[in-house]
Symmetry: D2
Subunit: 331 residues, 4 copies
């Protein structure tokens, strides 16, 4: 727990690491889930910096895919995919601040097979899509229902995957836009970063009063890039703690874990997402860790870590990180 | 006027070419202009199919750039750029319909120098930007104020440009998203197509009740791609006529002029925008002009016309068109 | 012929517009055609600046597609596609010079149906390809044989296309690379620009002694982008005149016609090809036409012309041009 | 050494894991290094499958950057960068086969500071470049000379990097093209994958008789993406073992290590490189590991590993991998 005490959140957040009230955002309390993240929806919860929130997330298909015969193209209707809990208002959050979201735990909800994966027509990386528009016939539509628990994800007789839970979609509100929950951008959104699991802190830029936190899209595991377009989607009880860092103005989401920091960029083409992430990281190292920017740039060329979140959404997500031990001051 | 009588608008629109009431959407009536296009703003006008609307558009800088010493980086504040008139509700428009917008005329408003061009830091095609993120110093910020009238755009002693007015930003509302006025997508938006001027009809997909029409961003002229990021921006009196085509379900905007039809795609990278536009055009030729899709695909490889709208916005816009005489049935 | 007298070729070329010897590069003289353009092949011809060359080009399928039953996937074998005449050595050409290629005329050769179009598996813009790798089934393979003459291209009973001949592939040699004839780059190559027809001058950078000119891939017509991947391919007698401009160092190919000049860029993604083309044009205007570079940049934003060559090859080609009357000095 | 015995190389290679003759490819024996990889250069060595080769590689700057005052823009001349040893002919290699290259060890050569890093004008990911052409002033040119040995890379007083040696550029010859050593493609080339170090096997497709192996561009360490465009470049003694797998026809390079296999794609934009890599991996799993292709596709969405080689070269490189334990047959 040492690293948490030294994290940006605990060092600079209003709560200074002190845990406040615990709130329960159950399905009932949430009521209607949201499919767009912006300043126009009604808050479901108001919290203080330091508060803990226990959230009942729905899976990205909102639970309608119950068997391997349930086809998304029949049962889901765009753009009503990827339901989000929220918006949660953080007391005191104003444009120019950052909200920190520490994920404490993610536990599966509901009966097995709780996990859902699918091949959805014209969605995914290895198929023509709505944007990479081709005249090819779509790939076959397929659904997989998967048993999973906190010990593993039982894909098939042959393959068992590790339980590596994380949050696919985490956002504050843009200033004036309202963006569907399939799309990531500088407000966060559907980033699909496997690093964003228990033990991670995500920093999001506040652009709307109260921040307006949205959360959803839990994955029991996911590979780099989420290549078929779908992870092992499942409903959870996710426990987070939020804090507010006044005057910490960031352009794009950032992530901190025990051993590394990571800047996150989302756009297309993929190289631009990587450029955003690395530029933010260079600037972060210069601003907060006393590196000359050119030295930071050349060092990252030697030890930068890249994580491909997804390259299947309307925008693609890349994280660029550096291990903390390289950030230590000269001893 | 013959072609207009035979246009899709007049043939299939509810008004069948009959001109209805004329409405005046003055600055005063508009009141607050909009910087995001979505379902959450209050209508300023309700019209019937066939009605004419005389709109007082503001320039993309909302008139704050009055001299060549007025710097956008000082006087404009993102995302409050590119003010839009609207939303205008079209009676009877429902999801699955299309709204047709015929531009009758565009006349300059206000005193000269009415036109504004600028180089804005980290904006434009030949510079690092917010998305193509680089560490280079930005280009110098520059402003040009330009005299213009309906006879010409008086750029400099050396160069006079033709007056080729068109609307840069034209939208209906997305279903649940609200998208800033700098970004084009399948709802229309900031497409910056020089073809979208007087004598053109744009077809936009209805996704929200009433359609919710937004219009703004007039250009006195613009080159393909709007390479520096800014056209000759100016305030106008723009006269449009709108119609409603029930059950004409289109995915992306379309444009019709006297001698060609054009499908429009907006995304990144640029090849995907071109793919969208051409796929829509192939499908359009198959659905409405009795072409076999593979024949359409191969014919477009011989006579398809591509217009690059812009490649400077958060998403890029490409139009793919074909001259009408190729669409004539076998004689 | 006035414009030609004032062209860069005639003003600055070693021959100063004087026409030299006429050479005949027949099929027999050519012998083996080439599928890669580089410094390693044996010259077939040596010419002087100002000389005229009458070239018998083969079609891109090297004539093996004789009926609509002849499938490219059976009869063609990568990388042996798009046969090129050459290399032709231009006396005196050295690294740092430019070679000008003026196309005088292009006449069809052989019996009708001389024209060939095809849909080739995993080739074209609206399909998954070798590079935009998808798991979709390929589009159906299709061949069209087309009658054509200098009056028209007789596509079908319904559609007659204009005869708009142009050269798809025109190159000098790279310095050390040898690049297959399907790929365009800064040496020229498979640019597929419909403007590159009779009455055009193309300027190519010399990087290898003698320049080593390659030419082939005639199209009887082609739409912007060559969307299905194939134009109306046909064999020709193409008559060109070449000149040498000593010390005219250019990075990318350039094109001049009666009424405009155009810079050409080839790479992926498509926006980068457009960036290259426009940057070259800005620099060209600054170097040769006495424009301030920022003024040139902003003027092109108002009147720049973009031509999409193709977006189907391993690299995509964009031309960015400006009409000559904007280049006139202040009067 | 167990995994090596079970590797594809040792299981299917002609040598079956038996080590043959050891050859020494010293600087003297190499003579002239190569800057383009193709079928047109003279072999420096002929080896048998199973043979070991001890190669003296030069650094990517060919040793001319000796101090931090030596500027690449002055001392290096494009395209004469990134010198390659080879071509090495592998007896019996024919089109349709694969050559396996197992890297045994990489040892630094020469005196410290042996390592070189640099910021080169218009080269790197966070700057306008030759292809992402902008009008911005280039970043400052900078050179870093770095002491390194097999225990570490001594970047600065503050930062010591691990010694993680790997080969940046490894190729066989294309069939007819000759490609400069800065560019990766389906022949291999400048992939800059940190995984390609001691203990790795790279499989390369044979397209030219004898395969024609080229090797060079050693890095003492490199981050994902090689963001500034340059790793810690250094001269080495690199010991490799080559084998020949007859009839193992692959389209793109592949890599095997103790615990994972990886397919490698190189093109632009970056998403297309990732698509290539993942498609090859799906096909590999289907062909060699008895997975249904759709099952493979969906499994990789849960556990696929992506490595960004570089996104600074003329083409970008992505590796897509899967851990071997997922490939085990159903038990």
């Amino acid at each position: 727990m040492d690293w948490l005490a030294n994290s940006i959140m605990n060092q600079r957040g209003a709560a200074r690491g002190k845990v406040g009230t615990t709130h329960h955002l159950t399905e009932a309390k949430q009521g209607r889930y949201h499919y767009t993240m912006g300043p126009y929806s009604d808050p479901v919860l108001h919290v203080q910096p330091g508060d803990r929130i226990v959230v009942e997330t729905r899976d990205a298909f909102e639970g309608v895919i119950k068997t391997e015969q349930d086809m998304p193209s029949k049962l889901c209707r765009m753009p009503f995919l990827n339901p989000q809990n929220g918006p949660i208002m953080i007391e005191g959050a104003e444009k120019g601040d950052a909200v920190a979201v520490y994920i404490e735990s993610m536990k599966p909800r509901g009966d097995n097979p709780r996990g859902t994966c699918a091949m959805i027509p014209e969605f995914g990386a290895l198929t023509g899509t709505y944007f990479t528009a081709t005249l090819n016939d779509p790939l076959p539509e397929k659904v997989r229902k998967i048993d999973l628990d906190e010990k593993g994800v039982y894909w098939s007789k042959r393959v068992t995957l590790p339980y590596r839970p994380h949050i696919g979609t985490l956002s504050l509100s843009p200033e004036i836009d309202s963006i569907n929950s399939l799309t990531p951008d500088n407000h966060g959104g559907n980033m699909d970063l496997p690093d964003m699991g228990p033990g991670s802190i995500t920093y999001l830029p506040v652009r709307s009063p109260g921040g307006r936190l949205f959360i959803g899209d839990a994955h029991a595991c996911q590979g780099d890039g989420e290549v078929c377009g779908v992870a092992v989607e499942y409903p959870t009880v996710t426990t987070i703690r939020v804090d507010l860092i006044k005057g910490y103005t960031i352009e794009w989401p950032r992530l901190e874990k025990e051993d590394f920091i990571m800047a996150i960029g989302s756009t297309r083409p993929l190289e631009d997402a990587a450029r955003i992430a690395y530029r933010e990281l260079v600037r972060w190292m210069a601003a907060d860790y006393d590196f000359d920017q050119w030295d930071a740039y050349m060092i990252l060329s030697q030890c930068g870590m890249v994580r491909l979140g997804n390259f299947v959404d309307p925008k693609y997500t890349v994280g660029a990180g550096i291990r903390k031990h390289y950030l230590a001051p000269e001893s």
